[in-house]
Symmetry: C2
């Protein structure tokens, strides 16, 4: 078997005992050996622990014993999320020695479901803005003079999943940190409804916007991972109460062509030609397959979300880092420093006013779904820009949904005119995450995009 | 019928057609005429609208048509909550002309259930600290030289319900504004789980602590009102998702003697002798009736909640009032001015740190219920103090639960040694409000306290 199985395919084969967890792990390690010198997706690969886990899971599989939906599947974990025994470096020199005593609940959930935790993937410094060393597997010049950013901040998770160095990965999003790198690298991701998935054991950026989510090649892969992620335990049982119903049998659900809302305005005007054309093409294919595409009227001014988002993120990031920042400002990169300076200068009243604005925005977003099943908008306003050294892109198209807290699935729709991947975000009703994934899977089937980058085919 | 029916009794009699909504309204208006000169519970009594409503509801009742559980029941509304066509003065000279265009959803919910909205009850200025003119119906000197505060900020609602000028009333709590006046006035109240009941159309004090709740003589009365209060619509469907189940048939539920946790420490040390004795007596009676009383171990330091609560409340109140306050500082009372000054001087990072502390506190409170059905603590640390002109009391014993957001029912347990009412708070699991009310009703039956104040018996 030389082709690259998706996570869901690999999980099925392991269960059918036609693929061994050890063989699958070896294939991932082989890809890491061949590709990661160029792609730089990993901070640490814990080969020994992964091999021991895979061997144990292989023994169980032979006996017909399976721990859960991810039995034997190698998974990468963004390096701001705790994995017991490994440092959580968060892309910062300040955290060289922060060895995690315990798994974050999301990691523990994956392990319980049988996942092999393969290692820690590269993150942008404290999951903010200053670029990481990771590279974009779709960059045409990847082998000599790479120029296109893989996006951030979950750079390593997106790169590793795209190149098949693992079958799925955990990332986080505060602005655009799941959707942007996933789009630039041609993989799928979902950002769950706000506060549905546990954030314990994750280095915080901004309480009101931080989300943990999975990255993988296909929506079915994401759905398997989502099933294993425990609920947020903030505010007593609220997280659990709000968790999506487990009743819906995702894989078997016969989804009818959905009714998808478009937003026009800001989304049309901000997208560049590459993305505008790719999005129109994607929508045409969905329409041809039977989807109803409906313009949604709204008084929400999406171009005004960014300052509110930045103010809240700046204050909350400053709250997390203020002690370290006052002690060792030089240990922070230039982009995060600007953010922290803004946060430190803000008054409580201005921050509280931004939080009130956020609540009003969330109420208005909730009404966008009155007449449609989900919204469809481009995932990014450009394809991966040639800013490898300077910027991981910007979050114009992702931050509105991080702020809203509505669930998002991002699906690569194909290659744009410039040969780089484009994707669409399907945005669903609050707390209806599983239905959103089913809708996104319907769209993915229509797009039928083979999202393995050329570099990953060589292997 | 000369005795004073409770809300639930009156509702039953109206349904049985042995009491007419018009007769009931007249009885309330008669009490207002005789008592409110001394008690000062009302800002405005809307006699004409109330009479029209009662007449219409009486016609329907004769036909055997009943709108809902509150058909024909006169209800008072704290004057920070919008009632269509009446000003929402919020106890401030700044709001003389703020006539509400529409009912707040909570008021609309009561009306839909058949309530007669009788008028607006006195609130402390902007529901904060500076005393209102209302007086305590239990004050032994009520007829000549009243000295004991009725508590605040829902002063008028507690006084009106205690004196039978209405059968129930809406109030709000940010620190102790439902539980403290209800305790001082000898009536029952419940503060629902945070963000379960709508706050739209209510003048805000502090987003993270504001709760709307009912005040009445008995728990069964509160339960009827709670059924009619619509869910908070913040963050899409979250409020609704978190709303207590309507399945439990509260009145018929056979509650077994509950397992109640005590907290000792801060709660024992802060209470004065009157309250300590009254609480011990209450707990002894519950024990004799079969309740299990269990000391709960906790690392929560309840004496440290107050500064965190005050910081958040100050910032959020300043956010609400900053424009008016900068323009007309002299229009604000001395106690709220100090609060607003603190809020305006706070940095965003310090406020955000307080919010993070709040979240950690809520998680720890959630764990207090691991081994008990509910907690029992005194409602106040003293009975109504003789500070009618200067202070409505302080919120040491109420603010911890406003901050926690856990649901609370406060029940008068009897008269303390000084002849003034004492009460206990039963604190329940998050989102389990209906079960909490059932437990509180069990306790109330054990206490069997006739909570009609002497002044209300004269009428």
């Amino acid at each position: 078997m030389s082709e690259l199985p998706t996570l869901a395919e690999a999980a099925d084969r392991i269960r059918a005992q036609t693929l061994s967890p050890v063989e699958l792990l070896d294939r991932c390690l082989d890809r890491i050996d061949r590709l990661d010198g160029r792609l730089r997706a990993w901070v640490v690969v814990d080969r020994e622990a992964a091999r021991r886990a895979a061997q144990q899971l292989a023994i169980e599989a032979v006996r017909g014993e399976f721990r859960g939906p991810l039995h034997g599947v190698p998974i990468g974990v963004k390096d701001i999320i705790d994995v017991a025994g490994l440092p959580t470096r968060a892309g910062s020199p300040l955290r060289e020695n922060h060895v995690a005593a315990a798994d974050a609940p999301v990691v523990a959930g994956l392990r319980r479901a049988g996942a092999v935790i393969l290692g820690k993937t590269v993150t942008v410094e404290f999951a903010c803005f200053d670029p990481s060393p990771s590279r974009n597997p779709w960059d045409p010049a990847i082998n000599d003079a790479p120029r296109h950013t893989p996006g951030g901040s979950s750079s390593g998770s997106a790169v590793a999943a795209a190149a098949g160095m693992c079958l799925g990965a955990l990332g986080t999003q505060t602005g655009g940190s799941l959707v942007r790198p996933s789009t630039y690298c041609g993989v799928a991701t979902c950002k769950p409804t706000y506060a549905v998935v546990s954030r314990v054991g994750v280095v915080p950026v901004s309480y009101h916007f931080d989300h943990v989510g999975p990255i993988a090649r296909r929506i079915a892969d994401l759905e398997l991972m989502m099933r294993c992620l425990p609920a947020d335990d903030d505010f007593g049982p609220r997280g659990a109460a709000a968790a999506p119903s487990g009743e819906l049998d995702f894989r078997r659900q016969a989804i009818r062509p959905p009714r998808l809302g478009t937003l026009g305005g800001f989304w049309e005007e901000t997208a560049d030609d590459n993305i505008r054309q790719a999005t129109h093409a994607a929508i045409e294919r969905l329409t041809a397959a039977g989807a109803a595409i409906v313009p949604v009227e709204t008084d929400v001014n999406f171009s005004r979300i960014q300052p509110m988002h930045r103010r809240i993120m700046g204050v909350e990031a400053a709250t997390v880092h203020c002690e370290d920042y006052r002690r060792r400002p030089e240990a922070f990169g230039p982009l995060i420093r600007r953010l922290l300076d803004e946060g430190l200068a803000c008054s409580a009243v201005d921050y509280a006013a931004a939080l009130a604005e956020l609540r009003g925005y969330r109420r208005r977003v909730a009404r966008l779904f009155d007449s449609v099943d989900a919204l469809i908008v481009p995932s990014t306003h450009t394809t991966a820009p040639p800013t490898l050294e300077t910027l991981t892109g910007t979050s114009e198209f992702q931050a509105p949904w991080s702020a809203a807290g509505a669930p998002v699935a991002s699906i690569p729709s194909g290659l744009a005119a410039d040969g780089l991947p484009a994707a669409v975000q399907i945005v669903g009703r609050y707390h209806d995450d599983r239905r959103l994934l089913a809708i996104a899977q319907w769209c993915e089937t229509v797009f039928d995009f083979d999202n393995v980058p050329p570099i990953a085919r060589e292997v």
